[in-house]
Each structure stands twice: as structure tokens, then as C-alpha cells.
């Protein structure tokens, strides 16, 4: 058992070291709001790949990925890994395109506004902010839960310490600090993953003994064709792809890369890396289910740790969990503040750079305080997470297609997103009595189908309807959008467009 004092000491020492590194990274650099949220053209292939790995690899890989493995077995493990890899592969195509058509951009919401107008902008803003905020709160909840399980550290203390220190260097150094700390964190996380998991295999008596434990407990966990595992695996893959396509973290890094080719190469490398990391983490959920007394699948991996593991393995995993949380939380702090900061020139009347910089920092503080509070109030955010994923799955297709097709209008994009959401929500198993309340509504309630507890119908429905509707609207439209408008209307924060990039409805779409 690791003592509370040792775990807290390790936590504080790690947080102090990375805060110092983040502050050092930003000292003497460009302190403008533009640099704070974009770090434009600053990261080469190695650093960009590292931040693509570190930003998404949060403590969730030790909690929810393991939970999927422990509950549904190797079929769900494969789905989780594919789901995490596919968005990176998509961005290897989307990234260079974004840089080509919006060379001075910052965020996906400003793209949505310029390309589709007010209504789609509001929809995308809601979906993106909701997803990132839930991700952030879930990370703080996760590390608080993990340290409480491993070393009885009070949950509020962990959340406040992690939130406070990460806020200090992210609020000071912005995206540049986040990318540098991500790079170092990735270089520590990868070997720690290998050492901790290899150590766990040896501690459990080798792969053969682990296999025997799983086969004796529940052999269906080892069945790659298990129906429930397959259904959940496909659903989670669609959920992750949809959600990551509205994650501002990636849009920031598209601009942080030195050029389009570097961005494409780094996202391709991250496709392999992130898929493998999630495969490993989720596979250990299967290992835990067969080799430890798992009362709660959500903490399956940490239950495995409690099974007489050597202290050094426990400490290594504690450090790993902390690094995972820091690397994703700093990215999310900055991404959330950048979404709003990029829109400030349009919302305020010609603000100067000092106003924008203060605004960006104030937003970062606001996000941090709210996330720490929510992480303490909501101990389980899985259902919220999946609903945010559903919103992302519904809106992703029209957002992406609009980058490549000049025929999709704002009305068509919004209708496609809403149609996908309506179908997905009809099958979604809403928690907290919301589903029951919806079904008690006269006429509507009777028309609703039974909810799918494995989420497959919900996510397949949302994605299929959204994609089909988007393609249909694009095919049937006789209008053409001039992509040059994007580069003309979306400008750097220190060089705003005269009209702030405003487009009303389908104004930017011309009759052919």
C-alpha cells in the first residue's frame, strides 16, 4: 500500500516540476492573444505528434477504457482502439485542408460561423464546449478517484491541486506551454505504460496465468465475436469519432504544426500510437476482470493494482495517471478558452490585444474553477459523456463535408445535424429519469422506440442519418459556396476582418 504522504508528495513534486517547465516555455515569448491560443507554425513533427498523443490520453484510458474491457471483453477493446485511432486518421486529411482554406484560423466554431451562419455556429459551439467541459470534469474526477483508491488521498484535494497547478502554467503560457509540457509528458507516459503494464504481467505470473484467470472467470471476455462486446465496440467507436471531430484541441494543433505536410504526418503517426495505447489500456480491463475482485468495472484497473502488487508498480501507475491527467487537462483548459477568445473580436467592439489576452486568461480561470467544482459534484459522468458524444456524432458529418463540398448550405448542415440528433436521441438510454419523462409526453412518448442499452442503435442512427442527410442536401443543392470567403473573413486576432467575419444564414452561398 502506498501511503497518502508518498502519493501526495509525488503528486505535488510532479505538478511543481511541470508548472515550472510550462512557465519557462512561455518566458520571453510573444504574449499576444494570437500566440496564446494558436502557437502558429511552431511545432515540428516530433513535438506535434507528442502533443497529439498526450492531449487525448487522459486518465480515462485507465478507467473507462479498462471498464469497457472488463465488462464487454476483447471485442469492445478492439472497438475502443479503432474509435480512438480513426479521428486521428481523419484529421490527417482534414488538417491540411483546414490550413489551406482557412490559413489564419483558430477554431472550429469560427469556421462554423463563417461557413454556415448563426444557427449552426450556436449548435457547434454548444456541442464542442459541452464535450470538452465534460471531458475535463471527467479527468479531474478520474484522478481524484484513482488517488483516493490507491492512497486514500481526499478527492477534493487532488482535484484542487491538479486544477490549480495546471491552471497556473496554462493560464500563463497558453498553448505554447501546453505543447512543451505535453511533449515531456508523452516521453514519460509511453515508457511508464510499458513498464507498468509489463510489470503487472510479471506480477500476475505471466500471460499464461492471466489467461487462465480470465478463462475461469468469464470466457466470453476472450471472444472477439461476442455480440454484446461487438455492439458496444462499434457504438463506442462511432461515439469517439463523432466527439473528436468537434474537439477544438485538434483544430488548435492543426495550426500549431509547421506546415500541412507535418500536420498530416503527425496525425498519421498519432493514429497508430493512440490506437495502440488504448488497445493496451482496454486490454488490461480484461486482465483485471479475470485476475482481481472487480466490484466496480469503472475502477477495474485500480482493483488489479490492489491485488498485492509491488509498491513500485503502484507508484509508477500513480505517476502515469497524474501525467495523463495533466497532459489532457492543460490542452482542454486552453482549447475551451480559445473557442471563446477567437470569437471575442466579433462579440466585442474592436478589442485591443490586451483586452483579448486578459479575456483568454480570465476564461481559462473560469473554466478551471467550474471544472474542479463539477468534478466534485458529479462523481459519475459517463452518461453525460455519451450524450455529448451523441451530439458530436450528429454534427460531425456536416461540419467536415462543408470543408470539401461547396454545395452544402447552412440550412442543409443544420437540418442534417438535427435530424441525426433526433434519431440518435430517440434510441438513447437517458439516465436520471429523463428517458421516462420523455416517454410520458403525449403522442411523442408513444412514438419513441425502446432505448438501446448498448448504445449501438443510437450512435449508428445518428451517424447514418446525419451522413445521408448531409450528402443528400449537398447533392440536391444548386448553390455554390466560394471557399475564398473563409480566408477573407477569418483573420488573425491582430488583423481582424472589417466585419468580424460575419455571415448571415446562407449569405455566403451563391447561386450557380
Amino acid at each position: 500500500m502506498v501511503t497518502t504522504e508518498i502519493a501526495l508528495g509525488l503528486t505535488v513534486a510532479t505538478l511543481v516540476a511541470f508548472t515550472a517547465l510550462g512557465v519557462w516555455a512561455a518566458r520571453g515569448r510573444d504574449r499576444s492573444a494570437e500566440a496564446f491560443i494558436t502557437a502558429r507554425d511552431s511545432a515540428g513533427g516530433g513535438r506535434l505528434t507528442a502533443t497529439l498523443i498526450a492531449s487525448v490520453m487522459g486518465v480515462w484510458i485507465l478507467l473507462s477504457a479498462s471498464e469497457a474491457g472488463a465488462t464487454f471483453g476483447v471485442a469492445a477493446v478492439a472497438g475502443y482502439a479503432v474509435g480512438e485511432a480513426l479521428p486521428m486518421l481523419a484529421y490527417s486529411v482534414i488538417g491540411p485542408r483546414v490550413r489551406a482554406v482557412i490559413p489564419d484560423g483558430h477554431s472550429l466554431t469560427e469556421y462554423a460561423y463563417a461557413r454556415y451562419g448563426d444557427a449552426m455556429y450556436a449548435f457547434v459551439l454548444l456541442v464542442s464546449v459541452l464535450y470538452m467541459f465534460i471531458f475535463l470534469a471527467a479527468e479531474l474526477t478520474g484522478i481524484a478517484l484513482a488517488l483516493a483508491l490507491v492512497a486514500d488521498v481526499p478527492q477534493w484535494l487532488t482535484a484542487v491541486l491538479v486544477g490549480g497547478f495546471v491552471l497556473a502554467y496554462t493560464g500563463y503560457g497558453g498553448l505554447r506551454a501546453s505543447i512543451l509540457t505535453d511533449t515531456v509528458q508523452a516521453l514519460l507516459v509511453l515508457p511508464l505504460l510499458v513498464v507498468a503494464f509489463a510489470g503487472a504481467v510479471f506480477a500476475l505470473g505471466g500471460a499464461g496465468a492471466i489467461y487462465d484467470g480470465i478463462a475461469a472467470t468469464d470466457p466470453s471476455l476472450l471472444d472477439p465475436t461476442d455480440a454484446d462486446g461487438f455492439r458496444f465496440g462499434v457504438a463506442i467507436a462511432l461515439a469517439i469519432v463523432g466527439a473528436e471531430l468537434v474537439n477544438q484541441t485538434w483544430w488548435q494543433r492543426i495550426y500549431a504544426g509547421t506546415d500541412g505536410a507535418t500536420v498530416a504526418r503527425s496525425f498519421r503517426t498519432a493514429t497508430v500510437a493512440n490506437g495502440l495505447i488504448v488497445l493496451l489500456a482496454a486490454l488490461f480491463g480484461v486482465v483485471a476482470a479475470g485476475n482481481a475482485a472487480v466490484e466496480n468495472p469503472a475502477t477495474a484497473f485500480f482493483a488489479l493494482l490492489g491485488e498485492a502488487f509491488p509498491s513500485w508498480v503502484v507508484l509508477a501507475v500513480t505517476l502515469l495517471a497524474l501525467l495523463l491527467v495533466m497532459s489532457s487537462v492543460d490542452s482542454l483548459f486552453n482549447a475551451l478558452s480559445s473557442v471563446v477568445t477567437a470569437d471575442l473580436p466579433r462579440l466585442l467592439d474592436d478589442p485591443d490585444d490586451r483586452t483579448l489576452t486578459v479575456g483568454a486568461r480570465a476564461l481559462t480561470v473560469g473554466v478551471a474553477v467550474a471544472a474542479v467544482y463539477v468534478s466534485q459534484a458529479a462523481q459519475s459522468v459517463l452518461a453525460l459523456f455519451l450524450f455529448a458524444d451523441l451530439l458530436g456524432a450528429a454534427v460531425a458529418a456536416p461540419l467536415v463535408v462543408g470543408l470539401f463540398s461547396d454545395r452544402l448550405t447552412g440550412t442543409g448542415a443544420l437540418a442534417s445535424g438535427l435530424a441525426g440528433l433526433a434519431v440518435g436521441a430517440a434510441f438513447f438510454p437517458f439516465p436520471l429519469g429523463i428517458g421516462g419523462a420523455l416517454r410520458s409526453v403525449p403522442v411523442v412518448g408513444a412514438a419513441l422506440p425502446a432505448p438501446d442499452g448498448l448504445y449501438l442503435t443510437s450512435f449508428v442512427g445518428a451517424v447514418a442519418v446525419s451522413v445521408a442527410s448531409t450528402l443528400a442536401f449537398a447533392a440536391l443543392s444548386d448553390r455554390r459556396y466560394d471557399f475564398d470567403r473563409l480566408s477573407n473573413e477569418i483573420r488573425r486576432l491582430d488583423d481582424p476582418a472589417p466585419d468580424g467575419g460575419r455571415v448571415d444564414g446562407d449569405e455566403g452561398v451563391n447561386e450557380s
Binding site: 516530433g46 509511453l190 504481467v201 500510437a273
Partner: protein, 53 residues
Amino acid sequence: MTVLGPTAFAVLLWGVILAVAVVFAYELYALAGEIGLAARVRRRYRTGGDDEP
């Protein structure tokens, strides 16, 4: 039910651990190249230790 055999499971488990180790080695190599470390080492090797700045 088609269950993975013990050998396939062992290959999967160790294969993924090894693959993550390879990703780490690649990332280390890429970063070393980016900060010019690889070029400095090559130069040092060619010049027998007289590393020019």
C-alpha cells in the same frame, strides 16, 4: 463462441506492450532529430569527437 487461445492471447498482450515501446522509440528518434541531436551525434562520430558548434 470463438474464444482466443492462450498463445494468441499472449501474442496479443506482449505484442501490444512491445508496439507501444516501439512507438516510444520512434517518438524519441523524431524529437532527437527535431532538436538536431541526431545530426550532432553523427558529426561527433565522423570527426572523432571534435564537435563543431
